[in-house]
């Protein structure tokens, strides 16, 4: 049996021997993950426990490291959306649009107002889809499976809207440099309208189920709190930061894609605990709905893509019939488009926080370097600080409310 044991330096026995309680009783070590069902993704947390209480912890990540940044250095610009999809796959269109805006900034392309509004609609739908998963799964982790089954239907409705727009459900790979690949069909608009009609009632019901629910409140209030100063130092952004009381939202601080045209509030929490994170995400869903309604009401006339033939792939039927389209198609696909030498950092408000793209071009068809600022990766390092001194079951709720997406964490 001895070969089954880990080598001595990897064994935890020495740690346990070194650190004992004051009364001499032993501590224990718990391995949470990487395949634990409550971790929702694969990361390992080695926790030093005194009974139910967590004394210390260490996280290991990288279990689905896929080398995105290395792949990005070997792919043309328009093939990189495929990678961005798979970062935070709960809200893929935000990543797609963020990437297109980055490359448009680098190339100096101005996109029509209509495209910007369409992007806002898609991004806000994606934000709703992201928060649906996070909040309903938090319900599951605290013992309420019903809510998950109930609101997941509406994620399906959002998937159907994506499907009408681009043909894919989850990893959308939506859009082109300068706009969308095709104009939205009438079905898209009617599906969005239907969604706006049905969803609020269902979400209200979900909220009623949990927000003032005694059990849920007991399980989440004061669980995994983080102070505003610490959250800032740890690089928190997005709903998790706002739950700690800082109203930093890139949609307002540095508006992109015409977010300055819309009226909406930034919901903030107070104590940065699990309950506040839940409430902030809930409130953000209502704000997103408000933004979508305004965008629909104010939708300008115009084209669904910018007039940049040297970057925007022409429609296939034109490639076969007109010469200019054929030439541009060839040049784009073969990578003979002019790309200025520049460096761009473009942040967007992703589902989890500031999703930034840092792009260095060298004039060729591929990025010289592309770095993704992945919010999950940056705030997950605070997890051990947040759960220190808490119970094990609180750690599960905290992890769930942080909405750590393994794909984004590990790149």
């Amino acid at each position: 049996m001895s070969e089954l044991l880990l080598p001595p330096e990897q064994r935890y026995a020495s740690v346990i021997n070194q650190r004992r309680n004051e009364d001499g009783s032993e501590l224990s070590i718990l391995n949470l993950g990487p395949t634990h069902p409550a971790t929702h993704g694969i990361f390992q947390n080695i926790l030093l426990m005194d009974g139910e209480r967590i004394l210390d912890g260490e996280s290991t990540v990288g279990y689905i490291h896929r080398a995105f940044e290395k792949i990005a250095e070997n792919r043309p610009f328009y093939q990189i959306t495929v990678l961005t999809d798979r970062l935070n796959y709960c809200s893929a269109p935000i990543n797609n649009m963020g990437w297109w805006m980055t490359i448009e900034k680098a190339l100096g392309i101005e996109v029509p107002k209509r495209v910007q509004y369409m992007r806002v609609i898609v991004m806000e739908l994606a934000r709703i889809a992201d928060h649906i998963i996070c909040n309903s799964v938090l319900g599951v982790d605290t013992g309420a499976l019903t809510g998950f089954l109930y609101v997941f239907q509406f994620r399906e409705k959002i998937y159907e809207i994506y499907e009408e727009i681009c043909g894919a459900r989850l990893t959308t790979n939506m859009g082109r440099i300068g706009g969308f690949e095709r104009d939205w069909s009438p079905a898209v608009w009617s599906k969005i309208d239907a969604f706006l009609e049905e969803f609020p009632a269902a979400w209200q019901e979900f909220e009623n189920l949990l927000v003032r629910n005694r059990i849920f409140m007991d399980r989440t209030i004061n669980v995994g709190p983080i102070s505003a100063e610490k959250a800032m130092s740890y690089g928190f952004t997005g709903p998790n930061l706002r739950a700690a009381g800082i109203d930093y939202d890139i949609r307002v601080a540095q508006p992109y894609s015409s977010y300055e045209d819309f009226e909406f509030d930034i919901p903030v929490g107070k104590s940065g605990d699990t309950y506040d994170r839940f409430c902030v995400r809930n409130a953000e869903i209502w704000e997103s709905l408000k933004i979508i309604k305004q965008a629909l009401a104010k939708m300008p006339e115009g084209n669904f893509h910018a007039d940049v033939p040297e970057y925007y792939l022409p429609p296939k039927e034109d490639v076969y019939t007109t010469m200019e389209s054929l030439i541009y198609h060839f040049k784009i696909v073969m990578g003979e488009i002019p790309v200025p030498l520049t460096e761009v950092y473009h942040p967007v408000e992703g589902g989890n926080g500031e999703l930034g793209f840092y792009l260095i071009t060298d004039g060729s068809r591929t990025p010289y370097r592309l770095h993704f600022r992945r919010p999950c990766f940056i705030y997950y390092q605070a997890f051990n600080d947040m759960v220190r001194g808490q119970n094990l079951s609180d750690a599960i709720a905290t992890l769930s409310s942080l909405n750590v997406i393994a794909g984004e964490l590990d790149a």
């Binding site: 395949t35 990288g62 279990y63 689905i64 080398a67 290395k70 792949i71 798979r86 109930y150 239907q153």
Partner: protein, 183 residues
Amino acid sequence: MSDTSKYTMAEAPAGYAGEGFFATKLSDVVGLARANSLWPLPFATSCCGIEFMATMASHYDVARFGSERMSFSPRQADMLLVMGTIAKKMAPILRQVYEQMAEPKWVIAVGACASSGGVFDTYSVLQGIDKVIPVDVYVPGCPPRPEQILDGVMRLQDIVKSESVRRRSSDEYKDLLGSYNIK
């Protein structure tokens, strides 16, 4: 009382029926029982896991195929659903989970990454889980739609139904596991 006509019964295997008796092969009955109560072990690592969540939820409802109970313990699972990219760092863990499962056990590789590495042809990604464990059904797609995952489960049910009760103790099976260095 609910309306029983909504429920479909599993089809009885071929055999001789008479008054008060029904004679058929033991392996068919065992296969029938196994195929309609496959307990899945969702080994979800990335995007396909979210589609599996959709498969589990009310809209698609994998429970209709006898997989109501998600078994997160490998000891009590029949069907390992590997969903998502398996990095080389993850491969030993996947293998350990497979080894911990009790016989009979089946594996479905859901999605392009689990089947072949998908778009991630990189230094850090395992190019298909069949490099470390034997796979019964491959589901294509990146990610597959819930219908495709359900189809994969149904294809596996076909395999399970027709599997001989002696297969797991046969030399061929031992050779198969031997080729993966699984004892």
